[in-house]
Subunit: 474 residues, 2 copies
């Protein structure tokens, strides 16, 4: 039997000027003032937080309804033009760049909170709702949405990149907390990937296929999320360690002992210095863990005591407890703005984003080898890590006017990714593949697994309309 | 652009006798004594625990290695013969039936535990390892694998049906606990769907695509599972309620209050009677909850106290605490053998399997409407439920020699599935679609979502080799 042709259609270069003109005429007619081809706005929509070159789309459409998305997909299919979903542009991996041109679909106006089902601990939101908007809305409900990447990202964007953050140790990532999605597919059809039931065995898991697909399989227009109950008591602390190894060992032992910490973050000395400069925290400049415990009053006290014992056994100490909410807020705000804090270490330089994640048993090895690599390559590269998950970010601060430095940072990032993969880990724990992690996909997954991914892409999006040039380079 | 043809190839009837003869000759040559075409063994491999008609395969191969699976897939592709993966045959939905003939691939001899990575709280097993075998192996490690469907199923089968059980409230289902899979695809290639990193954003989520695919996309030959630390303290209890509503309300309030119960199971009066007959438990015959708390000594005591308050507010009481391990074992053993216990209510009758799951806010409504339906239809139908998840099983006990009773039970099961779907739930919370839930797929997911599932099937398995006639009827 002949096998259907399932290679992803390759796009070459950008759209022809006459195609752009015809497309934009149709978009202007349908979307009026919600359409723009202004260069400033196009460039803003190709903008990312990283060092990557800006590749602006040919047009931007601000969608307000599901029907807007359906019509945009239909028009783009007619003109064979790419569609790049856009939330707030906080991606670190070039997800919103438009290497083949096309239309940036700005979802920021689709920001309604459609339902909060408090009894079921879930909610339904439009994709442009941000995590802080949702939590402000939930403020008096006794519930919260726990996933907290550094940026105030949109929930559609977070679903698309399988984002996580500091709370993932206890509450999981977008993989665990997206219950169902509403998506518009390449033929302009709206569908839901699942129900609000907490579990289901009814057929293939379409929800998890769209979570982390980075907008390459369809446009997310509705997100159903699990929520968590606000903990009765919260306790946060920093503690200091003589070296990296003792901080890593403490993390490993904490996870293994089943201590239900909500967050365990690790800062190296350089990062602590950055936070001190940026947020005037006055922390002792040594390797450090930031931890937080959630539970009942007595449960939190018990967790904190046990954690203190593990820290002491590993030679750490110097606890500073942040018991008041405002102290905790200051601490975590600094952590969330780590990206900007790091920039304070070397004004004018850009941080390169890396995002490796390894099995926790290999964390100390991976961090120590990486520190040696940083020292050997002469880079200024602070490390922060969601170490409770084995995930850490090294951010070489690069003078973008110095080609040799760029080359050295790129080579370092490549060695780091391959090191993590060789240790049974991944090149990206939470940022996504985007453009810059594409070279590691076959090394991490093997050719056969990437081939299955390509088959899914070809089956869902035969024209290669959705976010071409990401995840795999086509 | 022409879209690739992506409809699933339809199989008509069983294999021709000459095809079976040629296939079996090749299988005998390759697999020797690990191949059989004996009628008894073929029938045993079409056997299921349900009322479904037995549809035996044309042959059975007992695979011992990954290479055996690769060679079997290659031979079956050559003869265009279906392959039906088989664990222990405890499916309740006809997953192991062979409506189009072909080869039952018995994985029970692939039962090695390949690695236990205690530091990472994970393990790697072959698909024929059963959940009790794994837990016996882990006995002295301080770890356990928490998912516990009623039967002692294989972990490959549990992954394939996205199984869960009584512990899912706290520990999740196979969806949450499978970290990665090794699979053999339709072209005989082995691949891994992910790494051992706790989180990853590197491309499409192939792991979750194979979890719950019921053997229709490939053969699972390796399963990497998350493990949990054995709780320091465990406390279990039964408590009684005046009516269904108060038991459901107690469950809802417990979940909403964030009380981290490990298990909350509900038995109706008829089920309690069944357990008393079957296991001599001497429980009071009223609606009942079985609960279990895991944690530290003080944490468990605190949880138990809070739960007691919620029960009392809802008019329940009569707690019987099972504090000794052997008492707990007796209680949960009875619960796990509920399927057999129910048969004791009406000797000679077969229980029909239903498996609806609804958002917990609709649980009381769904159960009450269902009880009225049972009463109106004159069926003997006990109800047990993993109510902490909104999942419950009604098991009409049917005299299989009485066509009218079969018809009434089928009609009841259909009404129940549609009722759950109309309440935002699913026709199957943990058993899988198999053969008997196929009619509900489009109602639950919509035509467009089922079409995407079919596209995946066509893209991965163009010949329709893997378990045809399941999930969707082709």
């Amino acid at each position: 039997m002949a096998e259907p042709s399932l290679s992803v259609r390759k796009r070459e270069g950008r759209l022809a000027p006459e195609t752009v003109a015809a497309l934009n005429a149709d978009l202007a007619a349908r979307f009026g003032n919600s359409f723009t081809a202004s260069e400033a706005i196009r460039r803003q929509h190709g903008h990312t937080l990283t060092w990557l070159e800006n590749q602006p789309p040919d047009a931007v459409v601000f969608a307000e309804t599901r029907d807007d998305v359906v019509d945009l997909v239909t028009l783009c299919a007619k003109h064979d033009a790419p569609i790049i979903p856009f939330g707030v542009g906080s991606s670190l991996e070039g997800h919103v760049n438009a290497p083949h041109g096309g239309v940036s679909l700005d979802c920021s106006r689709m920001n309604a909170i459609l339902a909060v089902n408090a009894e079921d601990l879930d909610c339904v939101v439009e994709p442009g709702v941000t995590r802080t908007q949702l939590n402000a809305f939930l403020h008096d409900s006794g519930l919260f949405f726990p996933i907290d990447p550094g940026a105030d990202a949109t929930l559609g964007g977070m679903a698309s990149t399988r984002a996580s953050g500091t709370n993932a140790v206890r509450y999981g990532t977008m993989k665990e907390l997206v219950l169902s999605l509403g998506v518009v597919t390449a033929d302009g059809t709206f569908l839901r990937t699942g129900t609000r039931a907490k579990k289901s065995s009814a057929g293939y898991d379409l929800t998890h296929l769209f979570v982390g697909a980075e907008g390459t399989l369809g446009v997310i227009v509705e997100v159903t999320l699990k929520l968590a109950g606000l903990p009765e008591a919260v306790s946060a602390a920093t503690c200091s360690f003589p070296d990296v190894h003792s901080a890593c060992s403490t993390t490993i032992e904490t996870i293994q002992s089943g201590l239900p910490s909500a967050r365990i973050e690790r800062l190296d000395t350089l990062s602590v210095r950055a936070f001190n400069i940026y947020a005037h925290l006055g922390l002792p400049e040594t390797p450090m863990l930031l931890v937080e415990f959630h539970g009942t009053e007595s449960g939190v006290a018990e967790q904190a005591q046990r954690f203190g014992e593990i820290v002491a056994e590993n030679g750490g100490g110097n606890f500073i407890w942040a018991t008041k909410p405002e102290e905790r807020t200051k601490l975590w705000k600094a952590r969330h703005e780590g990206f900007f804090a790091q920039m304070a270490l070397r004004p004018g330089a850009r941080p390169f984003a890396t995002d490796t994640c390894v099995p926790i048993s290999r964390l100390a090895d991976c961090v120590e080898e990486t520190l040696a690599d940083i020292a050997a390559s002469g880079l200024v590269a602070p490390i922060v890590g969601h170490v409770g998950d084995g995930n850490f970010h090294v951010s070489p601060l690069v003078d973008m006017t110095n080609p040799k430095e760029i080359e050295a940072a790129e080579a370092f990032a490549s060695r780091l990714a391959h090191r993590a993969i060789a240790m049974g880990g991944t090149c990206t724990g939470e940022h996504g593949v985007g453009q810059k992690k594409i070279p590691y996909m076959e090394d991490e997954h093997g050719t056969a697994a990437v081939d299955l991914m390509r088959r899914i892409k070809a089956a869902f999006d035969p024209q290669n309309l959705f976010n071409p040039g990401k995840v795999f380079a086509v």
